[in-house]
């Protein structure tokens, strides 16, 4: 094309000259490609070309309550069977004790403060980090999620008491984001059987499917039909709380162990009117655990159906299935039944990967790993470049058994948000907004209102929420409280028990000698503390450098409701 323009006489600044300039400008690169395209035939096939991905999250499932890990009850026959053809990570450690924050870290491979999801109140753009489906979409995947954990769907407008559905925090990157809105009793935490229909309709496509089951979460077994629901109950047992003010909450029936009930149990005492009114017997604790196990067992039946579906459709040959439980639950260790703090029972989760065609079948990996490792491992397996921003580790060398491959020597934990922070944003307010849902004894009215006001004052709407940080090695866990005095002041256990709590600045636990974290040994091992604290602070400062802005758009923050 330049042959012609070269012959042109010199033109003064006219429009004609402009177009010539524009053409001449790009001429160096214009025209056919400088380098021949890679010949497809020469390239080995990449796994992303033909591998489906299914991520199954089983929120709250504790690995030690699974048959495959030696649990006395036969709770998980189907998962046990799948584990024989999978790689099981025996020390998978959660990023935090609460679902949305822990899960977003896994979906983005960025620690909570980096990806931006650190609270239950969020703006539409709280998280701009790339998630698993977004990357897989680049590679031609159809992406879908079937979600029965309300944490991944709903948001709540605390001012007008209305549930809204701004499907944007967890749903970004999906072609289909399916929330069945199915109730059993008063709970929507059903098994996500709609996912099986989705697979039927899409089995001929290359797909990524996130099956997010909320069915193990409290209220335990609320959506499980009889006789499964009571299959493990102590015979003839009536829940102790039936004798007291009905606080069940809006999610469960009178016999279902709901969050509202579990919240009032501290040190095996049940509190009403800020006084212990019932000491939990072994049978009481057994009943709560029985209902938890029943939820697992019923969810495992669904896993059996999923497994049969994949087999029947021939998808087990070309589908990688990742099972992840996000976090566990306290079930009476130290007399507590909620995931209030960073206990082992809360932080140890299930991570199990079923590779296509039973590759690496039966491998059990003892190394510590974390949720942020899932995405780079998946991408590595699929022959997709790992995104630079990902903070997790590619575990494929460990899976393959490469010499020298290791997991995470240290797991890092952000205790964000504080339990009291989400309460301040939603839970307590919710109780007052709707008189029908108000479920505390009238004698507590004044104190709860004062507590709520205090929390609101301590956690201003636009202020970055306080959090604690922790580091875990195979033997030790060090927890550093960033503002222990404030935590004492706002403490829910301190409030509900009517007894002020003392929060040490630092806690060190020997996880081998003391797995329930009963004895803080911070003063006995100064060298261990110094070493772990240095590592923790180094990580913390790296995270702070990448910290996502908290109140970016100035948009109103909506609440992810809980329960």
């Amino acid at each position: 094309m330049n042959k012609m323009s070269k012959r042109r006489v010199f033109l003064r600044g006219t429009v004609a000259a402009v177009s010539l300039v524009a053409l001449a400008f790009g001429s160096a690169w214009a025209g056919p490609a400088a380098v021949a395209a890679d010949k497809a035939a020469d390239k080995p096939e990449k796994r992303y070309e033909h591998t489906n991905v299914i991520l199954v999250t089983l929120q709250c499932l504790r690995p030690d309550h699974m048959g495959m890990n030696g649990y006395a009850r036969d709770t998980t026959p189907n998962l046990d069977q799948i584990s024989k053809s999978s790689v099981v990570f025996e020390n998978s450690i959660s990023h935090t004790n609460l679902t949305p924050v822990a899960m977003m870290a896994a979906l983005t491979s960025e620690y909570p403060r980096v990806n931006g999801l650190v609270t239950f109140d969020v703006t539409k753009d709280s998280v701009s980090a790339r998630t698993i489906p977004e990357i897989l979409k680049y590679y031609g995947y159809k992406t879908a999620a079937v979600v029965t954990s309300p944490e991944f769907v709903m948001r709540f407008d605390g001012e007008n008491g209305r549930t809204i559905n701004l499907r944007d925090v967890f749903s970004r990157g999906y072609d289909d984001y399916i929330w069945p809105r199915r109730h059993v009793g008063r709970s929507m935490r059903v098994v996500p059987s709609e996912s099986l229909d989705w697979i039927d309709k899409n089995k001929d496509k290359k797909f990524f499917l996130w099956i997010a089951s909320g069915s193990i979460h409290p209220p335990y077994a609320a959506t499980v039909p009889e006789p499964d629901k009571s299959m493990y109950d102590p015979p003839g047992y009536t829940p102790f709380w039936r004798k007291y003010f009905p606080v069940s909450g809006n999610e469960g029936g009178p016999n279902d162990p709901t969050i509202d009930i579990l919240l009032r149990i501290w040190n095996n005492e049940y509190y009403e009117g800020f006084k212990p009114v019932h000491h939990l017997t072994k049978e009481d604790a057994d009943y709560i655990v029985a209902r938890y196990d029943a939820g697992i067992h019923y969810t495992d039946k669904f896993i059996g159906e999923l497994r049969a579906k994949l087999k029947a459709d021939g998808l087990d040959k070309n589908t990688i299935v990742i099972f992840y439980s996000i976090h566990g639950k306290a079930l009476g260790e130290r007399g507590i039944f909620i995931n209030y703090d960073l206990y082992e029972a809360v932080l140890k989760n299930l991570l199990m990967i079923r590779f296509p065609d039973r590759q690496f079948a039966g491998r059990r990996i003892d190394d510590q790993v974390q949720g942020i490792d899932i995405l780079p491992t998946l991408l590595s397996y699929l022959d997709i470049p790992i995104a630079a921003e990902e903070q997790g580790k590619d575990l494929m060398p460990l899976v393959r058994g490469d010499a020298g491959a290791t997991g995470d020597e240290y797991a890092y934990i952000d205790r964000m948000p504080w339990w009291e922070h989400w309460m301040s944003r939603f839970f307590l307010e919710f109780k007052f907004q709707d008189p029908l849902k108000r479920n505390h004894p009238p004698s507590e009215d004044k104190a709860i209102e004062a507590y709520e006001n205090m929390l609101k004052q301590e956690f201003p709407m636009d202020a970055y929420p306080p959090g604690d940080i922790a580091i875990r090695s195979k033997q030790w866990k060090l927890i550093v409280r960033t503002n222990p005095r404030l935590l004492e002041k706002v403490s829910w256990p301190g409030f509900i028990t009517g007894t002020p709590v003392h929060i040490p600045d630092m806690e060190l636990y020997d996880l081998i000698a003391d797995p329930i974290q009963a004895h803080n040994v911070v003063d006995e091992h100064p060298k261990v503390v110094a070493e772990l604290k240095a590592k923790l602070m180094e990580w913390n400062s790296e995270v702070e450098k990448r910290k996502a802005p908290y109140h970016k758009s100035g948009e109103k923050r909506y609440i992810i409701p809980y329960p």
């Binding site: 330049n2 003064r12 600044g13 006219t14 300039v21 790009g26 680049y138 470049p385 450098k545």
Partner: protein, 488 residues
């Protein structure tokens, strides 16, 4: 391509002194390669004149495809030497881009990425390479150590000695801010006369084409359309206002006639600069130095002429800003056209090899680029080119101009992603990120991977925009504002 076979043979014939004629070949892959009969020699103890025509866009040089013959002198040198048709600069403004010629490392390594290393008035620290990157050695230092007399004659501002541009120079002139060749050439000639019997390295630089430079005696508007209403006059103040408006609003609103005017003014400045340069070359010839001197002619970056609705440079990494002219003329003659893509990172290793300077291990380790001698001999091959700009802390951009014609630009402060296919879209107008998500993602990973490999992990911290003035008036305005706020 930019040159026909007939033109090429003609040019090669003119320039070939003592070397075989070049033969143009089309290798079937759409690239022009040149084969040369003889090896390029080594020029131990020859002189080096390194010329920077600051802010001259390659596409505004006739030899590089501009339709109008506004650059007869540069065009003539290009015929007598080796012309690199596709040279990508490592940055789009002077301070970061120029130091790469003299260090062979990327701006994130030599660390002259802004004028100040600390700017938090009243605390201000000028960026000084020796403090920020103490292990980096400059071309002038190496040549001085090898017995060269060294002299720099510049228009100050972005290549002011204070940043480290003066390192290794016996004489470094930077007394006129945004000075043109009309200022630097007379001083260069004086020095040349004093040093003509020594072996020397001269850095000659002029801001003639820069927006902040107006020719001595004003414009004669030689290329301006006769019907233009002169809404603009082409002053530095006007250019400054337009530059800032474009930065503040993201784009300018200008009439087509005004765009033409600014382009015509730009052409006049280049045309005048070319003429002054002819005077310099004539003096070199008169002093009998032409045959003893290696010439490098290039530019640190281009100038935006409204291609992306802005005027000036620094803020983006589009090709109007990073595609620069590059010509290497050998003392012994020899000419050719390297049609494939190279980078300004390669200039220093090329010059050092041509001058046959022995390199210490630390310098070998320092140099990121490669010598282009093989390319000048018809070999070599295209390379991927990476660029970066942290301009005034308004933006942080990194780009990859890949050798296959794909270009990816990442804006770090907001994760802005742009993908262009230059063979179809040489003006970089159609962002293909949504259409080619996989390619964009993979190029993005290459950009991040590349910068990490040279010690700059782009994910290590969040990129917060801020204030780091380049021009004096910005600093003054900002400091006045701060004073005002404190008073309030």
């Amino acid at each position: 391509m930019g040159i026909t076979r007939r033109d090429f043979v003609k040019q090669a014939g003119l320039g070939a002194v003592g070397l075989g004629l070049g033969v143009s070949m089309f290798d079937g892959l759409g690239r022009t390669a040149s084969a040369f009969a003889d090896q390029i020699g080594k020029y131990k103890d020859h002189n080096l004149v390194f010329v920077s025509f600051d802010a001259v866009q390659a596409a505004h040089v006739h030899a590089f495809g501009y339709p109008q013959p506004i650059t007869p002198t540069i065009d003539a040198v290009s015929r007598q030497g080796y012309k690199f048709d596709k040279t990508i600069s490592v940055s789009s403004w002077t301070v970061p881009a120029s130091m790469t010629w003299f260090t062979g490392v990327y701006p994130c390594e030599h660390k002259l990425v802004n004028k100040f290393s600390v700017y938090a008035p009243p605390v201000e620290k000028i960026a000084k390479m020796r403090e920020l990157a103490p292990s980096i050695v400059t071309l002038a230092e190496i040549l001085k150590k090898n017995g060269y007399a060294t002299g720099g004659f510049t228009g100050d501002a972005g290549v002011s000695a204070i940043f480290g541009y003066g390192l290794g120079f016996d004489t470094y002139v930077d007394n006129v801010k945004f000075g043109g060749l009309d200022q630097s050439v007379p001083k260069a000639i004086d020095w040349l006369k004093q040093n003509k019997d020594k072996k020397f390295f001269m850095f000659l630089h002029g801001y003639d084409a820069h927006g902040q430079h107006v020719p001595a005696g004003g414009y004669d508007y030689r290329f301006v359309d006769k019907g233009y209403d002169y809404r603009y006059k082409g002053t530095a103040a006007e250019q400054e206002a337009l530059r800032e408006e474009g930065l503040a609003n993201g784009k300018l609103d200008m009439r087509e006639a005004d765009v033409q005017f600014w382009r015509a003014v730009y052409d006049e400045k280049i045309n005048r600069e070319d003429a002054i340069f002819k005077h310099f070359l004539d003096t070199v010839e008169a002093l009998g130095l032409t045959g003893k001197t290696l010439f490098v002619l290039t530019s640190d970056h281009g100038t935006e002429c409204f291609e992306h609705k802005r005027i000036d440079h620094g803020y983006t990494l589009y090709n109007e800003l990073i595609h620069v002219p590059l010509i290497v003329k050998l003392p012994g003659g020899g000419s050719g056209v390297v049609g494939h893509q190279v980078s300004s990172i390669d200039v220093m290793p090329t010059v050092l090899e041509l001058l046959d300077v022995p390199l210490a291990d630390n310098i070998k380790k320092q140099l990121r680029g490669r010598s282009l001698i093989a390319d000048m001999q018809g070999g070599g091959g295209p390379e991927d080119a990476y660029s970066e700009t942290d301009y005034r802390l308004y933006t942080f951009k990194r780009s990859l101009m890949a050798k296959d014609g794909w270009k990816y630009i990442h804006t770090l402060e907001n994760n802005g992603r742009e993908l262009y296919y230059l063979p179809d879209d040489p003006g970089e107008m159609t962002n293909l990120v949504a259409k080619e998500p996989r390619r964009a993602y993979e190029m993005e990973q290459r950009v991040f991977g590349f910068f990490k490999s040279i010690g700059s992990d782009l994910t290590a911290h969040r990129w917060e925009t801020g204030m780091n003035p380049v021009y004096d008036y910005q600093a003054k305005t900002y400091e006045a504002k701060l004073r005002e706020e404190r008073k309030l």
